[in-house]
């Protein structure tokens, strides 16, 4: 029976280190093999155990990564198809509406011209009282303005009239005036007198 002592015992002042022949032998073996090798072995064993765990988990849920991608793609296709079927009727309605609007747009220039003509003839009025402004064509016949010469016939008048020409004063530059006027004014302003 030899003396036993706690090799791990540490005092405050000194540390008892293993220094017997067995300790030296172990130390020597460790020096040959290297302390890292054991660590590597330990880590390898951990990796192996994790790999086993992972494989067992994947196989237990039934999906691999590729399977999962395929499933997602399939789900998207299915959902798209169901939505398409669901909203197809609405889409068809909208397509037909777009077609009719396109037809109207084709005739917009003609419509604008027509409305302009109506407006210039005073036959169109806007009703502002309603929220939706409506275009109302008023084709009510208008009274025609007729002017009759009130004078009697001048056929039986016997004229003794000769009106003499005035002496020309500033008429020599008429051509100049006409040229200036044509330069300044292309046409007379459109006014009703």
């Amino acid at each position: 029976m030899g003396l036993t002592y706690n090799k791990q015992f540490k005092s405050k002042d000194r540390m008892i280190t293993p220094s017997g022949p067995r300790d030296r032998q172990v130390k020597h073996t460790n020096q040959i093999m290297g302390p890292d090798q054991s660590l590597i072995n330990e880590l390898k064993s951990h990796i192996n155990s994790f790999q086993e765990q992972l494989q067992s988990k994947s196989s237990s849920s039934g999906y691999t990564e590729d399977d999962l991608n395929a499933e997602i793609e399939k789900a998207i296709k299915t959902e798209t198809a169901s939505l398409k079927i669901k909203h197809e009727s609405e889409i068809n309605k909208l397509v037909s509406k777009i077609e009719s609007l396109e037809k109207e747009v084709k005739h917009k220039d003609e419509m604008i011209q027509y409305l302009k003509e109506l407006k210039s003839s005073g036959l169109v009025s806007y009703e502002n009282d309603h929220h939706d402004r409506t275009l109302e064509s008023n084709f009510r016949p208008k009274m025609q303005e007729i002017y009759i010469d009130p004078s009697e016939s001048t056929g039986k008048m016997e004229g003794h009239i000769t009106i003499a020409d005035e002496p020309a004063t500033n008429s020599d530059n008429m051509l100049n005036k006409v040229s200036k006027l044509k330069c300044l004014l292309g046409k007379l302003p459109d006014k009703k007198y």
Binding site: I163, E166, N170, D172, P189
Partner: protein, 332 residues
């Protein structure tokens, strides 16, 4: 192609006729009035005719054998007989009530401009809508169109004051204020680059002066008119009558320019910003008075005119400016 511009005034008619654009126009001027002489017997009828022929006056024998003297001679004969002349137009327009006057007006116009052929154009002056009266401008314009069309012309109306602008503002880029002082009305036009922005008329003119002086001095209106037209010097009146004429000239000018200011302020939004001061052109029979431009400048000095004025200028020929402007308008 004959081109005609005609100024249809209350007191006088003036026509400008040109065959081509390059031709110098021929002007004709006649007083727009007539006087009817009714013979009492056959002997009287022949003596009246002899007398009229001897004097060389312009007259018409009507279907009822009455003699109708027209133009300036009518005024002379009316004064001799202590009577007054008749006018086809009142206040610048034909009166629907004056049915007997219209044939006379047509006759006078036809004698001035002759008959038209296809393609001949006639621009005739019309007043603007009065701001101080109620006249049927549309009736006047349409009846004159009818008359001129019957004479063979393609008839188009033109505003009287705008015609003055076409005649007198060519060197001012057709920008300014033109006034036509006639017997029945005063027409005003504010023009910018040839565009008539504001057009209106005032129912006061030479007749207002004649009537006012006649009332004030108890003198027949015709005599006042003849004296006034024989030569008026507004700053040197040689008689009591001329003093009164000068006073009423000032009164009329004050009325006209104060109303112009009132209208311009009222239509402030319609008036553009003029880049530089603009000219005022005065035309018409009243502007012939000596000192007229000075009087206008004097009146302008007393009021706050809303537009900067470069100068007050009389038309080159105040009696022919409207007809010349109307003639020029036929070329564009």
């Amino acid at each position: 192609m004959k081109r005609v511009g005609i100024d249809l005034g209350t007191n006088s008619l003036c026509s400008a006729i040109a065959i081509n654009e390059v031709d110098a126009p021929t002007f004709k001027l006649e007083r727009d009035c007539f006087y009817i002489i009714k013979p009492k017997t056959d002997v009287n009828r022949s003596s009246i005719k002899m007398s009229l022929d001897k004097r060389g006056v312009k007259y018409v024998i009507n279907e009822d054998d009455t003699y109708i003297v027209i133009g300036h001679d009518a005024l002379d004969i009316a004064i001799e007989r202590n009577d007054v002349v008749q006018r086809p137009m009142q206040k610048g327009v034909i009166s629907p009530k004056e049915k007997t006057s219209l044939p006379m007006l047509k006759l006078m116009i036809e004698n001035m401009i002759g008959k038209g052929d296809a393609g001949d154009v006639c621009m005739y002056s019309v007043p603007a809508k009065p701001i101080d009266g109620d006249f049927d401008i549309v009736y006047h314009s349409e009846i004159m169109r009818l008359c001129l069309t019957q004479m063979g012309y393609e008839a188009k109306p033109i505003n009287e004051a705008y015609a003055v602008a076409l005649s007198e503002l060519l060197d001012d880029e057709l920008t300014g204020i033109t006034l036509s002082f006639g017997a029945g009305q005063t027409n005003v036009c504010v023009v910018l680059g040839g565009d008539p922005l504001i057009e209106f008329s005032l129912a006061r003119g030479g007749d207002y002066i004649d009537q006012s002086v006649s009332n004030a001095l108890d003198i027949p209106c015709s005599i006042v008119q003849l004296d006034k037209e024989s030569g008026t010097d507004l700053y040197n009146p040689g008689s009591k009558l001329m003093e009164a004429v000068s006073v009423y000239y000032t009164s009329l000018l004050n009325y006209v320019f104060n109303n112009i200011v009132y209208e311009l302020k009222k239509r402030e939004k319609e008036i553009p910003l003029f880049k530089k001061p603009i000219p005022i052109i005065v035309s018409g029979g009243l502007s012939l008075a000596i000192g007229f431009v000075q009087k206008v400048e004097e009146v302008l000095g007393t009021i706050n005119f809303p537009i900067k004025i470069k100068e007050v200028r009389r038309a080159v020929d105040p009696m022919k400016a409207v007809a010349q402007g109307a003639l020029l308008a036929t070329t564009i």
